[in-house]
Amino acid sequence: MTPLRIAVPRGALFDETLDLLDRLGLDTREVRDNDRKLLFEDAGIITMRPSDVPTYVEAGAADLGITGKDVLMEQFERELYELVDLDYGHCTMVLATVAGEDPAAEALRRLGVVRIATKYPRIATRHFLETGRQAEIVEVKGSVELAPLTGLAEGIVDLTASGTTLRENGLVVREEIARSTARLIANPVAHKLKAPAIDALLERIDAV
């Protein structure tokens, strides 16, 4: 049994994260066999949605966690250590609008403000602030591609890996905001008090 508890994201990063943990010598069979179970005491693994990983790690409910850089950027005020770029789960945060003449540029020119739908309101707000444009950020929880097709917004800020979903909905990428990959994060107190176990794990990550 590992002395560390690791928060593992279900969803897009799940399989590659379990593969990584296998290579690091953790036993993930029980995790793979159980869709519903969340806490795997023997393996030292807890599973959750990616955006909850920083919450658990910051509070010390998990010592380490794996989540996307996109999640960390959106929750930038968390007191965490970001230890390693794990170099999988590559994707890009983009600004996309419907193909053809750019309706976002049109809105900015004629109305002065552009409406942007996103699941990442803080990243979107910051991007428009930094580029000196005024935007009205509309937060949605589900399929964000729907927003520009229905007139809810002129554009979206969202994460894309291959661009397939964007294309299928007739959207094109107008701007790249940031690149994202999976990151290993640590609770700052655990990083001090469980240093030997964490350093041993980091060495194995460097080796694989």
């Binding site: 010390g60 007191e79 250590y81 970001e82 390693v84 700052p188 107190v189 990083h191 001090k192 030997p196």
Partner: protein, 325 residues
Amino acid sequence: MVDRIPSGTRDFLPDEMRELRAMTDRVRTVFERAGYGEVYTPALEYEGTFDRADMNASRPAYRMFDEQGNVLVLRSDMTVPIARLVATRYRDAEPPFRFCYFAHAYRGVRPQRGQSREFLQAGVELIGAGSPEGTAEVLSVLCAALDAAGLETYRVGLGDASLYPTLLDGLQVDPARRDHILTELVDGDFVGLEREVKSLGVDPADADLLLRAPQTRGGPKVLEDLEGPLHTAVTGMRAVHALLAPNVAERIIFDLGLIRSLGYYTGAIFQVYDPAYGVPIGIGGRYDELLGRFGRPLPAVGFALNVERLHIALTSEEQGRGRLT
């Protein structure tokens, strides 16, 4: 209708107050026995007092006007008011000065467990005693206070605020880059740190040193294993450690990555951890230049425990022990 109170504040009812009071009484006894007399200063200070201190991240969050239009702030810590107090009330007295306090400070925070806009701090300041003796004395008082509070598994991280900046100066890193690197370090972003350091174009051995130093933490052995510039950089930490009694020394974790965003720390810095609780429960360190800004240049060192977090750590430890028995 229910009248609310501001987020990040709360009411304290008798059961909790009784426990907090008992705990702070035990801590106060330790402070007083060690020669630290209790002081109290006003919760309201003039804004200029805190401006003088160069607080960076911990600037006062709440401002108001008095009848004459002066800007008053709610104090964001007790170290600055005590520096002011020493420079005014003890202007001609002979140092060293030993003070303790139990007082609320006010900061703008994210409301969360153990994080409040108004929080009680228990701390000491030792003014007019240099390093390593003064630092060692304060660390001993800190451990005695934590023992008296009832914590059993706590550890104290000991670092040096000047260590990393000195390494960067030694490599003649230009000021803009230096700020970027220190920001990544304060944010705990080691991925960003690696990116910044690799783009410096310094010798690979020096880059390795800059990346390794903040990850270096652990018992006395980590200091023994250091070579070259790092070996020299931890001379101060070694001297402090040599003065500590065994029961204090065994609590210390050396931490070369410990870096505080508080602007006034100059040398040794410490942070109190408990494995039962995921956030630090106290901070401290040397602030040898702060008193000078108030016109009374004296070396100084102190710490502040967050009483509410101390209480959470204590109850978490007790629950953990309950599970084992």
